[in-house]
């Protein structure tokens, strides 16, 4: 690992599980949404992107997932070394809303992704059961979403995301709609899942404390058009507990540092 520093961008960009953006811009018609963003995420890294609402965070994830038409995008975006395509099996995308199918039980919802990607039934069922257990939903396998709380539904969505064997997880404010307590619980659930498998996570949020407490790096974006204004390494140890961090002075110091950067980005 001693040759990492000088060529790290070019080395990581070709590897499975890496994400590399070079001078990426996105225009929706006249509206410049993302302006010249360059960013590298190494395999296994947990990177958060924070920024004010409308700065193009979701757009960046949609780009990676191959959901944007080619006429709105510019620059080079490599996901696992290849340009974005929709349906890329290296990617699992978790949307802001849970997007559960109300006509499927928790177990069937957790299996959905693997089902669409053609994983054989016994295997995907086994994996879904395991993950429901890990997210704390043992005993709720046969419950329909209407019977689950918002937090439990988001746990099912987590299980659905992790039951895909994709090395890259894209998460778009998955805990944005939850109350503070539930949010802390689910952040710890996410960290425990991630720490077990060390997949790459690109986590979009507008909640700074969430970004700082979970990530290896926090990328701060400016108001629209979104530019990268800071890329802060979070030097807190692993494994972490988000709830325990709430009382850690080092965490609060990093938080206020990132906060300053964010404020700078808001007032150019």
């Amino acid at each position: 690992m001693n040759d990492r520093a000088p060529h790290s961008m070019s080395v990581t960009s070709g590897r499975r599980g890496s994400v590399a953006l070079a001078r990426v811009s996105v225009n929706f018609g006249q509206l410049l949404v993302v302006d010249d963003v360059s960013l590298g995420v190494a395999p296994g890294e947990f990177v958060s992107i924070v920024g004010p609402s409308g700065c193009g965070k979701t757009t960046l994830l949609n780009f990676a997932a191959g959901l944007l038409p080619s006429d709105v995008i510019r620059g080079s975006y490599l996901v696992g070394g290849a340009p974005p395509v929709s349906g890329n099996r290296d990617i699992a995308y978790m949307l802001a809303r849970d997007a559960l199918c109300p006509w499927r039980t928790a177990l069937e919802n957790a299996e959905l992704g693997a089902e669409i990607r053609g994983v054989p039934p016994p295997e995907r069922r086994q994996r879904a059961l395991e993950l429901l257990d890990k997210v704390g939903l043992k005993g709720f396998e046969d419950a329909y979403p209407k019977a689950l709380s918002q937090g439990m539904r988001q746990r099912v969505a987590l299980a659905r995301t992790f039951s895909l064997d994709a090395p890259i997880l894209l998460m778009d404010e998955p805990f944005g709609a939850l109350d503070a307590q539930t949010k802390l619980q689910l952040e710890d659930v996410l960290l425990s899942l991630w720490q077990r498998e060390q997949r790459t996570v690109v986590f979009v949020t507008h909640d700074l404390s969430e970004a700082v407490s979970m990530s290896d790096r926090v990328v701060v974006m400016s108001a629209r058009p979104g530019r990268v204004v800071a890329d802060v390494r979070i030097t807190l140890g692993r494994p972490r507990s988000v709830r325990a961090l709430q009382k850690d002075p080092a965490y609060h110091e990093l938080y206020s540092h990132v906060w300053t950067k964010l404020e700078e980005g808001l007032s150019p």
Binding site: A65, S86, G87, L95, I116, Y144, K146
Partner: protein
Amino acid sequence: MTDRTTTWTVPQIWAGRVAILVAFFSLWEQVAARKLIDPILIGRPSGIVTFLWQEIFVTGSLIKDLGWTMLGTILAFLLGSVCGVLVGMVFVTRPTVEALLSPILMALNAMPRIALAPLFLIWFGLGIGSKITIGFSLTFFIVLSSTVAGGRGGNPDHITLARTLGASETQIFRKFILPSAVPVIFNGLRLGLIFALLGVIGGEIIASEHGLGQTLTVLAASFKTSGVFAVILLLALVGVCITWGMTWLENWLLRWR
């Protein structure tokens, strides 16, 4: 007495209902027996019972006619709803086809169906074919429009999720669009079944060889008013059974709601 919803138990409620009906039919019977109102106009409950007994258990002709009406209704409903769902799904998945055909179909649907009935009779004869056609022409459009509405009402997040998962068009349709449309389609099916029955009976009333609608016209033409009421009673019973059956099926199919 803080509970203001009801102070009667369930058996008491049922006893009350029966009492009301008994009072109503006794009054009717008395009014007709004493000729306060001419029984030719209002029939007679005892006459209704005699008629039902005679035509169901002795000659069996009412059962036979009920059979014809139900056969027509079920065939009209099946054909109409299958075609309605299929065409609706084509409209949902192929906007060009919809743009092409939708206005034409809407214009067809705007025609008063009962006014077309004589034409269907000329084309398909006095038998069950013309009745099925009338029922079909009602059910089809109802189910079609509910299918289109249901197919449109899906969650856009599902489609985004499906695309990121690499779902094929067929998978998106089978796993997302169709199931999310089922509740709305079901409302159309429920209504479509009632209208199939309405269309068939309407056709039978206009001109027919069999069926409860035909029985109804024959009885009315010969002033057998009790018989008319008996057939109406039977039709009401059929309507209640259909509604019950559909509700049961809906609750079972849509138990996730």
